[in-house]
Amino acid sequence: MANEKSFMKALKCRECGHEYPLAATHVCEFDFGPLEVVYDYEAIRGSLTRASIESRAKNMWRYRELLPVAGEPTVGNQVGYTTLVKADRLAKRLGIRELWIKNDAVNYPTLSFKDRVVSVALSRAVELGFTTVACASTGNLANSVAANAAAAGLKAYVFIPADLEHGKVINSLVYGANVIGIKGHYDEVNRLCAEIAGKYGWAFVNVNMRPYYAEGSKSMGFEIQEQLGWRIPQHTVIPMASGSLLTKIHKSYQEFSKLGLVSNTKWKIHGAQATGCNPISAAQKQGLDFFKPVKPNTIAKSLAIGTPADGFYSLRVMKETGGHSDDVSDDEIREGIKLLAECEGIFAETAGGVTVGVAKKLIASGKIPAEDSAVLCITGNGLKTLDAVVNSVGQTREIRPSLREFEGLLETEDAACKA
């Protein structure tokens, strides 16, 4: 992949279409709309083929022409290309012909899909000359920025709400990141982080680097298509916080079909949320094209964004593709986590429980037809949210070091099973 050529053309406002240079900037000067990277697809067509992709290393950068870096990426050379698991046992339980799990619970190095977006943001930050990176996060993003910055030799600042559980902070502190706890309500913390991002000359991954950062999520969609044997899945179920991942997986399907890497078959994009924070799914179910902000109250902390920045665009994607959305309660989330673990041996965090729970509902209601094929995006690891399931996974049974006691235990179990 000795390709030093940039395939990016410009940053472009999603609202008015005004174009901007490829700098660390994220908002249109006119209407404050978000900026997005646009590419030179003609040039990409000449460089990116199934054969060229298959000849490259198995990580997210094998689709480098469609990712926003100008030269060779410097961060994330081990990230991505997670397994796509054919989930026959779960398919049977959910009542669908064919089911696949895209398993980013084991993404490298911090066990969530955020390593994809962070790899892109940091690679681009290095290209633009930054030496300090930052983010505001309550979990996965903080872990990923801290780890990837450490490996790349960049200085990292991580802003968190001061009342965040200590366990979640260790996963950032261990990498030597500067972790700053901000006291106050979520809204105040949020506004201050935006201010800090605007004031210091840092690469704030989800603020001034956001146009690049968000593109990293496309790699999950590129991999799904390649791993399915170069085709677009009929149905994809995606967890939504800001809604960015959902819009970018859709974009990945559009790009591969535009480039002729897959045939342009119909696909439906479905969004999953927790009932305790469902601004997007509530709007989708009511047929609205805007959402109403909510105050989150759910065990799915990684999806707890009450005012989703890409909510409007997610609703549009679901509408355009004929997809649906639903949400699940905390109990259904726990049940989803257990179902995935027991059927497929995959332990997902609460966001995964949301995705499985919502897929179950969409299949049961026929919104995903039983004779179809679906992919579920599992985006984070269960070891990060042990608290959520600690009381719902059963208990160990204890015996003294005596064979007789063990046999007695098996006998009572046998009897209980027969009863």
């Binding site: 309550t138 993003l141 506004r191 005012t307």
Partner: protein
């Protein structure tokens, strides 16, 4: 890249005159506030310049994208007043703190 400027104890400037700033916000109004002339009230109550960049109003929500320019204490007071009215005030990026 520029890093945080070093503050010296003698730099009186840091404590003196408040700085001018431009703050870009999304305001989301609940239905009962939609008909109130909030932006006009801002300019009556606070020494800030308001500059609307986008707006959309339905029966269920009013969304206004606004730039506030003025001295930092005035901008902060304006935001506090808006929040007190039950209007959700988000930075232009909306959700900066993510998981």
């Amino acid at each position: 890249m520029p890093t945080k400027p070093k503050k010296t104890a003698k730099s009186a400037k840091a404590v003196a005159a408040p700085k001018h700033q431009n703050t870009r916000l999304w305001l989301m109004y609940p239905p009962k506030k939609i008909t109130e002339p909030i932006i006009w009230q801002i300019s009556q109550k606070f020494k800030v310049v308001t500059n609307v960049r986008q707006a959309s109003v339905t029966g269920e929500i009013g969304i206004v994208c606004l730039e506030l320019s003025g001295l930092r204490p005035e901008v902060k007071a304006t935001i506090k007043w808006l929040v007190g009215l039950g209007i959700s005030v988000e930075p232009v990026e909306i959700s900066v703190v993510e998981s």
